[in-house]
Amino acid sequence: MKISLLVLSEPYSSQSSLSALQYAKAALESGHSIERVFFYHNGVHTGSSLQTPQQDEVNIQQQWKELSEKHQLDLVICIAAALKRGNLNHEEASRYDKSQFNIEAPFELSGLGQLLDAQINSDQLITFG
């Protein structure tokens, strides 16, 4: 089955953020494919490469990155929701004259149309949060 995930919850604050990650791993291990993971609402914080949890805690951004590298996952963060919450990639930081950025590949910033596209082109869209 072709599955897409919509992640609305913040990493570390909400269990559903980790559930999304664990669900994605389980789906891939069971032979399903993941069309796209779309991060929206508070879920846009998931892609911040500045996350620095303690050593005995899971690094959620890092785990998505590793999973993406292993399975070529499409990880898309809603650009409008991300920018207002201070999650920018290099390109957006330059555009808005900011000195820092915290979103890097494989996470991409793109529009809400990518959520609609994922929904239409998947058998199931599963929402977390």
Binding site: G111, G113, Q119, L125
Partner: protein, 119 residues
């Protein structure tokens, strides 16, 4: 190709930005020529209350933002009768033209859709 998508709004406006971001999804999807219907249930019915004034909390009015819906050809809006009653609201308290349906009829509405999206 156009799909029939039901967007379910379940959260009150302002306490969380989810109501507003759900509306952004609605407007984006309509701009991509999808057939959107909306259902307000649970605390989501508070989004419809008329005379909202959110100026003092520095947020845009949720109801005001929904006034553009007819421009996007989104005219099928539904609210659950029991969810209004449980919150001491009636149709006359609402600021948008809307169809009031019984809770037990929501499954019929959902069955007519290609996709359902909840916020």
């Amino acid at each position: 190709m156009s799909k029939n998508i039901l967007v379910i709004q379940r959260t009150a406006p302002y306490g969380s930005s989810l109501a507003r971001e759900g509306l952004d999804y609605v407007l984006t999807s309509a701009a991509y020529d999808q057939n959107i219907q909306m259902l307000f249930m649970g605390d989501g019915v508070f989004q419809l209350v008329k005379n909202q004034n959110s100026t003092d909390i520095q947020l845009k009015s949720q109801l005001g933002a929904m006034e553009v819906l007819p421009l996007y050809d989104i005219e099928d809006l539904y609210v659950i009768k029991e969810d209004l009653a449980e919150r001491n609201l009636s149709e006359s308290d609402l600021g948008l033209p809307i169809k009031v349906i019984k809770r037990r009829d929501t499954h019929t509405l959902i069955e007519q859709q290609d996709h359902v999206m909840g916020f």
